[in-house]
């Protein structure tokens, strides 16, 4: 971005600063939002480099360092209401709007989902492991790899639901290359990735079915600092969300992390192909 507008203030009619979390596709979604907003006539739209997890992004929205971030409905709900048990997309979205603090608002959610998914290598899957329940009896011999905050969030939950307690939990990264490399090399045997991640297919990993619905629905939803967007801008994002399906998201991910295209290029193509430009 432009060095001279370091900490731009958000606000309706003002500058729009779109943030991204350090999940791979987040930046891509941010660029697509940016494109849609520009097409809706907003100028002064910038996209900040990705940073940290949800906590950072929310904090940045709160102090208006950011105006808007793409986020996932389920995780967002858990973030604001730890004990909420809603799992279906609709329930999650409804609950989310209820618990959202007043500085924030969420726009329409997209049909596209990108949930956490536990994956194993083919050699383990070949032993008949297809679901987390299949995995549970073996958990004690397995090392798990995932982001730093995984243990905090899910360790108790997976024990409670599936009675699975891993031998060790190694911090790798948030569905990124460290996790992939660790699983590939056998350093960990189970890893947390994202369902739309292109690396799952590319490495022949096998995603395990979350048969007891531990992970909530994770529809893509724009999280906005309240009042920062004009009606026209909100409408443009709603229109965008309406066409964003899981298949399209997966394809976008392939373009991004496998074909290594520039996110702006991908965003332009996407908006054009979906009649949004």
């Amino acid at each position: 971005g432009n060095p001279l507008e370091g900490g731009a203030e958000g606000g309706a009619g003002g500058d729009i600063v779109i943030g991204a979390s350090d999940v791979g596709e987040s930046l891509l979604l941010a660029e697509i939002y940016a494109g849609a907003l520009r097409n809706a006539g907003a100028d002064n739209v910038t996209v900040r480099p990705p940073v940290g997890g949800r906590e950072v992004v929310v904090q940045a929205l709160r102090d208006r360092s950011l105006t808007l971030v793409p986020d996932y409905s389920g995780n967002l709900l858990r973030y604001f209401d730890d004990d909420n048990e809603a799992t279906t997309p609709e329930a999650v979205y409804t609950e989310l709007r209820k618990v959202l603090p007043e500085q924030f608002e969420v726009l329409d959610q997209a049909p596209a989902q990108n949930t956490d998914v536990l994956v194993v290598r083919e050699d383990l899957a070949d032993k008949g492991i297809r679901t987390i329940s299949d995995l549970a009896p073996r958990c004690e011999q397995l090392t798990f790899g995932g982001p730093g905050q995984w243990a905090d969030r899910w360790k108790a939950k997976i024990k409670q639901l599936y009675d699975c307690e891993f031998a060790a939990i190694t911090v790798t990264d948030t569905g990124g290359p460290v996790t992939v490399a660790a699983l590939r090399s056998g350093e960990v045997q189970v890893a947390d990735l994202f369902s739309t991640s292109a690396t799952i297919g590319a490495n022949g990993f096998v995603p395990l079915d979350d048969d007891k619905n531990m992970f909530p629905a994770q529809n893509i939803v724009p999280l906005v600092a309240k009042g920062a967007l004009s009606q026209r801008e909100s409408d443009a994002l709603d229109a965008l969300s309406a066409v964003l399906t899981t298949d399209k998201l997966t394809e976008l991910n392939v373009q991004y992390s496998e074909r290594k295209r520039n996110p702006l290029d991908i965003a332009e193509d996407f908006l054009r192909d979906n009649g949004l430009s």
Partner: protein, 229 residues
């Protein structure tokens, strides 16, 4: 796909190029502003250290401690210490300014102390008051050693700015996190090369600046033999 093809298509995208340029500019800003501010701070502190002797030891000790703080640690705690926003690039600017000043304290003091006593004595004897003497005589003569220190600081700043990408601040470091996330060599290589080039260019500029500021040095190096006494 060979690396060169990959690099070709990476640089082939106009949007990539625009992004790289933006990152480069931000990198310059993040590295050079602290450099300039840090130099000024170091000079002022050293001036105080010269005028008031006990200050000298305090300065050196302080500089030593600041310099031992690992960059990432400093980057992440600065917002809570000075109350800035967490994504604000000012955090990196402040941290690097601290490093620059800390790094320059010793060379500046050394340089000032290396000014021959004779010269300072004769300046005093000619009726310079201390402040004027510092800026007219001591500081100019300290320039060569000082620039050596500034060159080290500039290289160090330029390479440290990339760590800022880990706390969400732009600059060429973004190319590393991006490349890393996508297992993509091109941005990383481009980022490294640009960092090196930037360091080299700034270094050359500093050498030129030093030449400009110290015409007498050139004269003594080459002129002695050329013109008979």
């Amino acid at each position: 796909m060979s690396f060169l093809d990959e690099l070709g298509s990476f640089l082939g995208s106009a949007n990539n190029r625009a992004q790289i340029l933006g990152d480069l500019l931000e990198h310059c800003y993040l590295a050079l502003v602290p450099l300039v501010v840090g130099v000024v701070i170091a000079i002022v502190l050293c001036w105080l250290g010269r005028t008031w002797r006990p200050m000298r030891g305090v300065l050196l000790a302080l500089a030593n401690v600041v310099y031992t703080i690992p960059s990432l640690a400093l980057f992440v705690v600065i917002p809570s210490v000075i109350g800035t926003k967490i994504l604000d690039s000012i955090n990196v600017v402040v941290a690097l300014t601290l490093y620059t000043s800390a790094l320059l304290i010793r060379p500046t003091l050394d340089a000032l102390e290396a000014v021959p006593q004779q010269v300072i004595a004769s300046a005093t004897a000619m009726g310079y008051r201390p402040a004027r003497r510092f800026f007219a005589v001591e500081l100019p003569l300290a320039v060569p050693v000082l620039t050596a220190g500034v060159r080290v600081a500039s290289v160090s700043n330029i390479s440290l700015v990339s760590v800022g990408a880990l706390i969400g601040v732009g600059g060429l470091g973004v190319l590393f996190t991006d490349g890393f996330q996508r297992e993509y060599f091109s941005p990383i290589v481009v980022g490294i090369v640009l960092t090196l080039v930037l360091a080299l260019v700034v270094d050359l500029l500093l050498v030129l600046l030093r030449r400009m500021l110290t015409p007498w040095e050139r004269a003594s190096a080459s002129g002695r033999r050329a013109v008979p006494a």
